[in-house]
């Protein structure tokens, strides 16, 4: 089966005066049509840079130094052709045609994604008219329609509202409307619910799932929140220090996590089984220095399970299959199997 999006051995490095930060260091995954892939990691893990690479909007001085990002792009007559986004210049006409049309993105802070000087309607219409040949009045109709679809009350009236006139939850809905106006096949959602309250977060997640079904789009959902990832994803990628530590279908990952890092993350959130007022499990230490290249396991030294085994430090990083669709990058587990 061919994938809608396939990322192969992606490496994004930031070339600083002090040295090279390997923000993404050999990440591979695939996204299928209509499915959701969750990318979960702590701050500094490189999860956002993965999303930015796909749209070729990695901030300076970041560079994609290696790897492929293969997108199956519709060519208009029902077929699709594979293009490698790494080879497409970021400012080119081709890339601009892909952004918003094939791949759209929503962000954590919707205030930063809208211009404060234009109405949300005019911004949604602009996005639509950029990619398809529709008349202004027709575009406005479509904008009202999509605003209604994302659950904005009185859309024919609020289409003329400015971003500051909307609440945080409504702004997030408007941003989703803008991202979906061209019916993209892939939606990259970078922490879209982090700034929202839980009841509004639940509404937005529900909306995304419902729109995904309706439009058949794929979602790449980036978050630090394990619960949110568990809610929306079909498959999950656990990233740490720019590398994938574990990849599995969502049920497998949360029922039988294999990597010590995944297990440690899950333990550090108090659950119904955690006796109250008992110490929570922590992950000791901090992220390794990003300027230093680590050939072995980047979790070495913080891991509770390896006990300082030199194999973990020296064995080159490799994501190994341990079960059907379950991949782990832990030398201890991988050598055993």
């Amino acid at each position: 089966m061919s994938h809608l999006l396939e990322v192969d051995n992606l490496k994004v490095h930031f070339l600083l005066d002090e040295g090279t930060v390997r923000a993404v260091d050999g990440v591979s995954f695939a996204v299928d049509k209509g499915k959701s892939l969750g990318i979960v990691g702590e701050s500094g893990s490189g999860k956002s840079v993965i999303g930015q690479s796909i749209l070729r909007i990695v901030p300076q001085p970041g560079k994609i130094v290696d790897g492929k990002i293969l997108l199956a792009k519709a060519n208009g007559n029902g077929d699709s052709e594979l293009i490698d986004l790494v080879q497409v210049p970021p400012h080119s006409r081709v890339m601009r045609a892909i952004r918003g049309r094939d791949v759209a993105m929503i962000f954590q802070e919707p205030m930063n994604s809208f211009s404060p000087l234009h109405t949300i309607g005019s911004q949604i219409i602009e996005a639509l008219r950029l990619h398809s040949d529709v008349s202004p009045s027709e575009a406005r109709e479509q904008a009202v329609e999509i605003l209604a679809k994302v659950g904005i009350p009185r859309p024919q009236y609020l289409v003329d509202a400015y971003p500051h006139q909307l609440s945080g939850g409504m702004r997030q809905r408007a941003m989703i409307a803008m991202a979906l106006i061209c019916r993209p096949r892939i939606l990259i959602a970078d922490e879209p619910t982090t700034a929202l309250d839980v009841t509004i977060q639940a509404q937005i997640l529900d909306l995304l799932k419902q729109l995904q079904q309706e439009f058949g789009m794929s979602i790449l959902f980036i978050s630090h929140n394990l619960g949110v990832i568990a809610d929306i994803s079909d498959d999950v990628l656990v990233v740490y220090f720019g590398r994938v530590m574990e990849r599995a279908p969502v049920d497998v990952l949360f029922k039988e996590p294999a990597h010590p890092y995944t297990k440690a993350l899950l333990r550090s959130v108090p659950g119904i089984d955690t006796p109250v007022r008992t110490p929570l499990a922590t992950i000791e230490g901090t992220l390794p220095n990003p300027l230093v290249e680590i050939p072995g396991c980047p979790f070495f030294g913080r891991c509770h399970e390896c006990g300082g085994d030199s194999v973990c430090r020296d064995q080159p990083y490799e994501l190994t299959q341990i079960d059907e669709r379950h991949y782990v990058a832990c030398p201890r587990i991988c050598i055993r199997t």
Binding site: D197, T199, A202, L205, R277
Partner: protein
């Protein structure tokens, strides 16, 4: 109920901010940020103050700290265990000064709450010097004791805040708050800016310090899971009012207010072995400038009836120690954590 006196007792506390419009800044109404909140904190216990943004939980914290003067109500504080309690909501600033050291605060953003131009030693020494608690060798000893208490090293004392990670900065904030031997710590979302693994470290530290020093906390948070883990009693706020006030166990086992039930069901879970039931609330929290008639929650409530849009429910005792502000608190059979399958 325990007959021991309360360290802090908040009674019918209100804070209304005037809403001014136009050239002459005429007062056209008021934002009822906090509108009749009551709760009490015993020495050494943690009270969780929970609610969504805009519900007034931070404003309550600020009033306890003396940052805002209440519009109405009392904040009784009794730092010394005898019966000399004072209302810090209406006290004169001069009289407040000797009491201020007993209430300290830890803020959400450890990057904004520490002066970047002061070393850790200076940050920790300042309250001790200003309040004339220690000087000279005694001062240095206390500073060292503080860094040790929060799990930092003496070698960190000469460094500036920028050299520390978010979690370490929050430790410095906690050390600063502990410098003057407080009785009560108000912590406003102290771990929201941190990664989960670091959050766990800070929560562990807070519990350890509490057990060691017998401190009381007012823990302000939107994270129900953390609050459940950490607090003995919980106050749930919605649009400036208390909707439910109960010990943690009964609150999660059997909530008595529909808002509590919905909030619990909305906490995303990683559990796979249980089927979860989500209650998706319609709409958004009411505007505190013009809250709806009757119960402020009724436009979003699944169980609302005619009465709810007419009469405002009063906070009342449903079971011993368990208070809720819902007309139908007794008759509704709301799902607790077990029935919802939620992770918290």
């Amino acid at each position: 109920m325990n007959s021991s006196p309360y360290l802090l007792e908040v009674q019918d506390l209100k804070k209304h901010f005037p809403l001014r419009r136009g050239m002459l800044k005429k007062t056209v109404g008021s934002v009822k940020a906090v509108d009749g909140v009551s709760f009490a904190v015993r020495p050494g216990e943690t009270l969780g103050l929970v609610g969504e943004s805009g519900c007034g939980k931070t404003t309550v914290g600020r009033m306890i700290m003396g940052g805002y003067t209440p519009t109405a109500g009392h904040i009784w504080f009794q730092p010394n265990g005898d019966s000399s309690r004072v209302d810090i909501g209406s006290i004169k600033p001069k009289e407040m000064r000797p009491l201020r050291r007993y209430i300290q605060m830890v803020f959400q953003d450890p990057f904004a709450s520490l002066n970047p131009r002061m070393t850790v030693r200076e940050i920790l020494s300042e309250p001790l010097i200003v309040n004339k608690v220690a000087k000279g060798r005694e001062l240095e000893a206390r500073v060292r004791e503080l860094v040790d208490l929060v799990g930092l090293q003496v070698s960190h004392l000469g460094r500036y805040p920028h050299a520390f990670s978010g979690g370490q900065r929050q430790r410095i904030s906690i050390a600063r708050a502990l410098a003057l031997y407080p009785k009560l710590l108000v912590a406003d979302e102290p771990t929201s800016a941190l990664d989960v693994s670091v959050q766990a470290q800070i929560i562990n530290l807070a519990m350890e310090i509490q057990d060691r020093l017998g401190l009381a906390y007012v823990f302000i948070s939107h994270d129900l899971g953390l609050v459940r883990h950490f607090s003995q009693r919980i106050v749930l706020m919605y649009v400036g009012k208390v909707v439910e006030y109960a010990p943690a166990g009964p609150l999660f086992a059997r909530p008595r207010h529909p808002y509590t039930e919905a909030l619990m069901s909305n906490v995303p879970t990683t559990r796979r072995d249980v089927t979860t039931r989500k209650i998706i609330l319609k709409g958004e929290p009411a505007d505190p400038v013009s809250p709806p008639r009757g119960c402020a929650f009724h436009p979003r409530c699944l169980y609302a009836r005619a009465l709810c849009s007419e009469t405002e429910p009063q906070l009342r005792e449903i079971e011993p120690g368990h208070l809720a502000a819902c007309h139908f608190a007794e008759s509704l059979n709301l799902a607790g954590c077990g029935a919802l399958g939620c992770v918290i």
